[in-house]
Symmetry: D2
Subunit: 356 residues, 4 copies
């Protein structure tokens, strides 16, 4: 590794094992291989290249949506704010749970585009269909509603920010409510692969694509250097979405970088295979923590695990393992997050087990 400017902090990091998140490595090696192979091929910019075209076709096939409109954007916050702004009318807001990524961790990108994020309670990160129904019913029953922000769209994430996932029945219920009120359902799939490969998942990609109006297949956290594939399942992209993407600063000049990555991820089911690996590692981590008597803050069936650690354990891992501390409990213990990814080596889980 030629870089001689690495800071001390990094040397520490390099010698430690890390579960801090699912974007600490680069890209799946097959992606890099193809980047190298195709590097000098001259292609059009802005997503009009054959790599993007091939990726679109493969995504249409994988989602079972032959008429889907597929666009490649660069990152999650960008995708959320662009899609939401494009789908909403000027005076509408988007409904999300209080812990939704757009409500908490996107620096107000949705509000920056002029729209309110209307929050309803979350349940381990999930939206309860009944809460949604009650909110919408209450809104429409309130005679002062024209003075309020009209709920023009529903946003959920799959899996959620807390690693939980929706069952097919839950998704169907939410979609049915959206249909009743004639508003679209948008699924943030920044970690979509990890949700679909979860042992708790009773839904596949094709079914999910049918149960919403627009969603995206997260690349950044599932094997790509960057990139999110937005899918308007029924060819229902807003008029001039290309221009809207550009207006939001979300159009990549060398669209090939995105197209080629998704083309690779959707060749030979690579996307699903590497997501499965992350899930396998997460379940091993979960079993390991459970077998040692740790409690969990949330019972997550995906690649994020939330064991509760005592001070001694925090101390024991100090300088050896990286992970996130989310909060403290009244009894002084810590809520932590350990994330696996397509790149997590099995030995890291084993090393961690030995330290606890």
């Amino acid at each position: 590794m030629p870089n001689t400017n690495l800071t001390l902090n990094t040397f520490l990091l390099l010698s430690m094992i890390s579960f801090t998140c699912d974007y600490i490595e680069g890209a799946h090696p097959l992606i890099l291989k193809r980047l190298v192979e195709t590097n000098m091929t001259q292609v059009e910019g802005y997503g009009e290249d054959p790599f993007c075209e091939a990726a679109r076709d493969k995504i249409r096939e994988a989602t079972g949506c032959p008429s889907a409109d597929v666009f490649f954007l660069v990152g999650g916050t960008q995708t959320n704010s662009t899609v939401i702004d494009a789908m909403l009318r000027r005076y509408e807001g988007v409904v999300a749970v209080e812990t939704g990524h757009i409500a908490v961790h996107e620096s107000g990108a949705v509000e920056f585009s002029g729209h309110k994020v209307i929050t309803i309670p979350g349940h381990n990160g999930k939206m309860n269909p009944e809460d949604l129904r009650q909110y919408l019913h209450h809104f429409h029953a309130d005679p002062t509603w024209p003075h309020m922000v009209y709920p023009g769209m529903v946003y959920i994430s799959f899996p959620t920010e807390y690693g939980t996932i929706y069952t097919r029945d839950e998704l169907s219920a939410i979609k049915a409510i959206c249909d009743e009120y004639e508003i679209p359902l948008f699924i943030d799939g920044a970690r979509l692969g990890y949700g679909l490969m979860s042992p708790a998942a009773d839904i596949n990609l094709r079914e999910l694509a049918q149960l919403c109006d627009v969603f995206y297949i997260g690349g950044t956290k599932v094997g790509a250097l960057c990139g999110e594939a937005v899918v308007f399942s029924r060819g229902n992209a807003p008029r001039q979405f290309f221009t809207i993407v550009k207006q939001h600063g979300a159009l990549l000049a060398k669209g090939r970088l995105l197209g080629l990555q998704f083309d690779t991820l959707f060749t030979d089911e690579l996307y699903f295979k590497i997501a499965q690996h992350a899930i396998d590692m997460a379940m091993e981590l979960k079993r390991m923590f459970a077998s040692k008597g740790f409690e969990f803050y949330i019972d997550s069936p995906t690649n994020q695990q939330f064991p509760i650690l005592a001070k001694e354990q925090i101390d024991a891992l100090e300088g050896k393992v990286l992970y996130e501390v989310w909060d403290t409990l009244p009894d002084g213990r810590y809520i932590t997050r350990f994330a696996t990814s397509w790149a997590t080596p099995r030995e890291n889980v084993e090393l961690l087990a030995q330290m606890l």
Copy 2:
């Protein structure tokens, strides 16, 4: 090349030589090499990784601005709208020439953030200091100015959209006017390398960094897959610029992708060397066109050349060479653009010469 889904159009393209723009290839091979080498190194996200840190240091060194704030964004339009929105007060607009990229080809991204692009006449893409002075003088002399958009910043590009560049004296004059009116000067350097390496340039990177308040070093068009390095020369980044970048959807999760590319480009002067190659090819192209008696729409000293072609010549190149047709002249001839890049093979120039 494993992709079997290439369209007919692409096969044509692959067998043709292309001068359509400076982002038709991937990245400089050294960048890909380092991406591969560092791929499994685990690092922090959001630009807090050692590659970004190293790149920042090297850019501070190369620009002669030891206290500069350096940020890495993904693309040009995104960078323009984020920097402009961050630097302007809420009620201010940005002054640009009529042909400025932000005024014409960014889908209204600046207006999307709430600011007017105030245009003054351009001269082959350049802003005339005297025009700027007159505009500002006239504005401040108008008693109704509080009802107008306050000019809070000046935007120029180096090189311009027409390939022209500013001399040191011109830049100094513009900067002096900005200082007089106490407004910042922002230089769009999407093609900065090609401007600095131009035989007509009488200014280097360090001098340019001193003659503005913020600028960016374009990566997308000069050897990178993506990425623009924003430099606030005097450590004058707006408060919480990081959050503003995120709010604008411009924060890359795997910041390493940007850091590593700029770290590579600013190691051993790679950025300048590859820009020099593009300039060499452009000058060869220019000489070739001139020697064959072609006129030019603009006398460009950088990597974009604008020869005027007659219908017969257009026909002669059909199916063999790709380039852009910008406009038609009253006499029926065509204004064309031939762009070279760090990746343009010398033989392509020679092949083109044989066809004309």
Copy 3:
């Protein structure tokens, strides 16, 4: 009354007594008198007229803020969104309670300008200083805060949307927290007069002006046809606030209409006297309801009263009295709102008493 186009609904309304809100009548007669007297006087537009100047002086005197910047805007929602957008930095949001007017009943006007309304729990419409402190502490302690919306300002209303008011101690506590975090405190005074004249108020206008950074004196609901007087207590108006007001569509061409109204309201303490009348009527209403055994949803000390009515009482008032029904209780009774104003005739209260 010459208008012959009145609808049936209005005839009903005219023959009924109404407590629906505090803006159902026109303006205090003295205001109309002066509008008539000064009508043909030729003056400058846009608030540069002598009426505005006189009003500004009187407000500076009444608020005890000799260096205050005073601006006249037209309506409440407009004033809230303009002041908030002008005071906040681009990436900041405003903290309010969940029931705050800006959070609920302004059609997302704050978000329209790009800023998030960050909500914390309300207590009968009021912000608890301790809640604010905890929220701010928690925000700043969270290492991910640069990915969140920075709390750049605190918004409270006096009185609140539920008719409650803050004590001097509560206001002082909130202001101290704002000072600690170096963010301004903004008081929405759409019904300011009714708060200050409440028997529960232990604070006067001068004290209130010291305990915040900007507030407004509501005209629309306290005797004027329209108009809100924004007071930056310490001459701390944002740079070019005039232009910002225009940019937000909030600048009235005939500023005289606003200036003359506030000049009148702040001559001989008219503003306070008419607010006192509304409070007197509200207290009489309150005593009347209480004496008849009604419970209240909220114990309001201002001009909005919230008695709980049973179905029979709702029926009894049908077609005779107008008021608002806010919600139903689990036991089937109704939360209602009866509002008095500067214009409420005493006999209306007596008539209502006879019907219950």
Copy 4:
């Protein structure tokens, strides 16, 4: 006149005659009379009152548009930015001439809502149909248009900022072009009455209403204290326009103030009669200047006249007459603006004549 706080400046103004603009007096006396008469009538807020209803009916009658949607907003800039933002899609801009009010004198209110004002050349304030056609043709012929701001609407003013008006043929031509490109035509009628009553007008209100998609009838400058009546001629108001108006801070709580004024202005053709008076005075002014040998900057057929004055004449009027100086000519003479209004006394014109 009871106000004792008038500044010296005002006393000067009171003793001078003023032609500075058309909003220096209050309202037509009939409006004040009716405000007084109806003052204590209790009505609904937010434009749901019988005065607004009556005014809407009369405007539907006067415009010959029985199914028109009519809304009352407070001021011109506010109306322009609200209507434009409501009619445009998110990525669209509005086409106007360079001297259009929205392009020059609204502090960027349109851009504040996220939309670009796309300017084409003006001709004495007017848009040339041929210029519009060429611009639209050129835009749609440019293959890079998806990277540009889509022209989604055309804005013109009648009369223009320079007092000129469109003929029926010119308006028809512009409307036909808009129809061809399927974009709406919006007419800013801040001074509509003065345009329709011009001796040069060959079009009436009903015809104008048919030749656009939305326009407004200016009240502020034609007899009202404030208020602009927006007319969507074919009942084509954007969905939830009421909410959009509120979101833009343009909804007046006491909508009665607007409704009653327009009800009065559209009773017995008051609006047209008082506009006719202003035109009569302007034509007298014009004849007077012409008879004394003055040249005009623009040959205006409406209430704004632009005589060119020499230094001696400027000096002669000093301290006696108020008017606007717009600019200086190369020969040292001044372009001035003298505006008449519904309130201009004939003797003021005669007094002015004596001074020149």
